[in-house]
Symmetry: C2
Subunit: 121 residues, 2 copies
DNA sequence: GATCTAGTCAACCGATTCGTTGAATAGCTG
DNA sequence: CAGCTATTCAACGAATCGGTTGACTAGATC
């Protein structure tokens, strides 16, 4: 199941809404890193960086593997794929394929994807 | 120029980090809507909805056309395309094409001057 | 002109965010 | 054991967020 509920989508996009965390994800694309390694590029306390890691973890984009003293963070691309998929809905819009967009909108009238449904306040 | 600066990316992802605003974007995909029309699905004051619209506008995802009394909002897909493109960097990760990811990372070494630690195995 | 409608603005409030610091935990090392 | 390393946790403060209400502006309508 690739679709995430609205709440999880909130977490994912909110996590992505920080250059610090985007940079961390990017660094993680090169392979697993410890929290300390992730924190290194930034002029902030380790505790602050640790909170960013926690935010990414909460959003499901990081998987933590505690080995001895150090916590290794692995990138989990699932939520990124979900976000990408959510945005793809609008792809026909920026590629100019409005007919395709219209098809998507019509098709959707029957089945409501969770990623498009905002329910709470 | 498709790339946005980090600050603008922050605005875009932060704007997307709310189910309310995602719903507004989705409604806008069907065509331009007034602020009142965008606010209608939600159990919140018009002023609150207006703030959400402003957030989307600040992120560049909405274009406003004031005609007489009412403000018509048009979807501007540019920032969505940027976000989509940003996420595409990780696409090879979730499709399992790790070799492609590695190529992207290597290719990027030349173009990005930031203090990134090079750790090739 | 009076009034209704569409929307913004400013002030306010409670919750959350983003950073700090100092203390605590747990593993490694001499 | 003492002490270093890696990391979290708790408390705090400033800033921002998401909502409210009441006042305001501007266009439409009678």
């Amino acid at each position: 199941m690739v679709e995430l509920m609205a709440r999880q989508m909130d977490d994912v996009f909110q996590a992505l809404g920080s250059a610090t965390r985007r940079r961390m994800l990017h660094d993680l694309a090169g392979g697993p890193k410890s929290v300390g390694q992730l924190a290194e590029p930034f002029a902030m306390s380790l505790a602050a960086a640790s909170k960013h890691v926690k935010a990414l973890e909460k959003a499901g984009m990081i998987r933590r593997e505690v080995r001895g003293n150090t916590h290794f963070c692995h990138l989990d691309p699932g939520p990124l794929a979900s976000a990408h998929r959510w945005l793809s809905f609008y792809e026909s819009f920026w590629t100019g394929r409005l007919d395709e967009l219209e098809r998507l909108l019509r098709e959707e009238k029957g089945t409501i994807p969770a990623s498009q449904e905002g329910d709470d306040t």
